[in-house]
Symmetry: C2
Amino acid sequence: MTLISQNKMFGGVQSVYEHRSAACDCDMRVAVYLPPGSRLGLCPTLVWLSGLTCTEENFSLKAGAQRAAAQLGLILIAPDTSPRGADIPDDAAYDFGKGAGFYLNARQEPWAKNFQMESYIRDELTAWMLANLPVDPERIGISGHSMGGHGAISLHLKNPQLYKTCSAFAPITSPTQVPWGQKAFKGYLGADEQTWQAYDCTHLVKTAPSRAHILIDQGTDDNFLDVQLKPEIFKTACAEFGQSLNLRLQDGYDHSYFFIASFIEDHLKHHSAHL
Amino acid sequence: MTLISQNKMFGGVQSVYEHRSAACDCDMRVAVYLPPGSRLGLCPTLVWLSGLTCTEENFSLKAGAQRAAAQLGLILIAPDTSPRGADIPDDAAYDFGKGAGFYLNARQEPWAKNFQMESYIRDELTAWMLANLPVDPERIGISGHSMGGHGAISLHLKNPQLYKTCSAFAPITSPTQVPWGQKAFKGYLGADEQTWQAYDCTHLVKTAPSRAHILIDQGTDDNFLDVQLKPEIFKTACAEFGQSLNLRLQDGYDHSYFFIASFIEDHLKHHSAHL
């Protein structure tokens, strides 16, 4: 692996690394914050999945999460949102191709060769951070924003032994029922909608609710709320199938990192308390 | 004035406005954070001056200052670092021309027509914020980073009745004695070095020390420390001429916003306590 940048922050270290992904057949970047306490032993760790158009940088530059992470002794891991490189296929739209990997394993060409983000995050990133960082394998949680909220909830529900805690900001909670998800799933997975279910949070929570308590923050002034996010669909499914959920509607907040920064401390405390 | 963007954050509102500057003969952008308490009456206010290459955005996106500002009831005002627009003269270097206004009034052509940043900040921005925001005129402080640290200290020392408190991160404290300052002052002000003194913090503190206590944070791993920043020159002058100064050398920190984010709360508390 290659160290791209390193900056001291709140007594700990914010770094960006580049490492090889066999699943995505390219080099991937990942931002890592190590709190000061990580010098002393294994730490609880939060994996953060960003939303459409983001890279590994947005969370570490804009969310202000390192302050609370330093206090709580929590490692932060923020991977990129898709494979990258000149030879990686792309699409002109912001919501498909690079920057829009949707944390799934693509089956359609030309995407299948590189867009294996589920395998990359779940298997390769986990192995990489356990091999290279003081990550406690028994205390890993997952969170994310928008497309990354969909990724966090679905990866948690499918792998509750790996990702023991879960939260999200403004997640796409029923991707098979909204335009962003339908476009991406058709493109990456194909026209057979049956195969989409494995990546739909609302379907997953019906078949495999977790024992964890999920925290979601959703701004009421979010431009994407009514068309793309639709948290009420997920809330209904959680209530029906026994999934513990705290869906907080935050009055007047939008879809931006200004919203995330305002409540990230609550999310870090949620993970820290349950890990 | 035009509202460019507005986002709820920590219960308050982060905005960007554009307004006309007669001094710079162009439209200028300014980022404003209003804490929740600003609905109730006039608030203490901190003007933040950014460094080379920055715009009005860097501080509000990366410093994480709004959290403490919301708690302290402090308004944050972050103007741009130079005049902007297609018809504004520029230079290919990052440390001269656009993004490098040095908070002075240029006297050389082609800069003199637009690069009047001292007048813009001191006169126009002050009048604008008093007319349009709940800013208490008796409780205004000033801070900044690098080139903006030079701007903050020199504006404070020249206008202690306007900017009652002062702090800085990694400021250029003796611009007439370092390459960044010498290049900019020669270009904007001309070859007569006598005229440069009006913008040199170390000269100003000798002729007009203020009654305020100045807080400076400087990272020991800052790449620019030994060649461009040289805080020891300023510290010696402060000691000799009775200027109260707390120069904190922060072990292992660099010149980035990761450093600023780590200590911005201390600076906001410094201003809040003395305003």
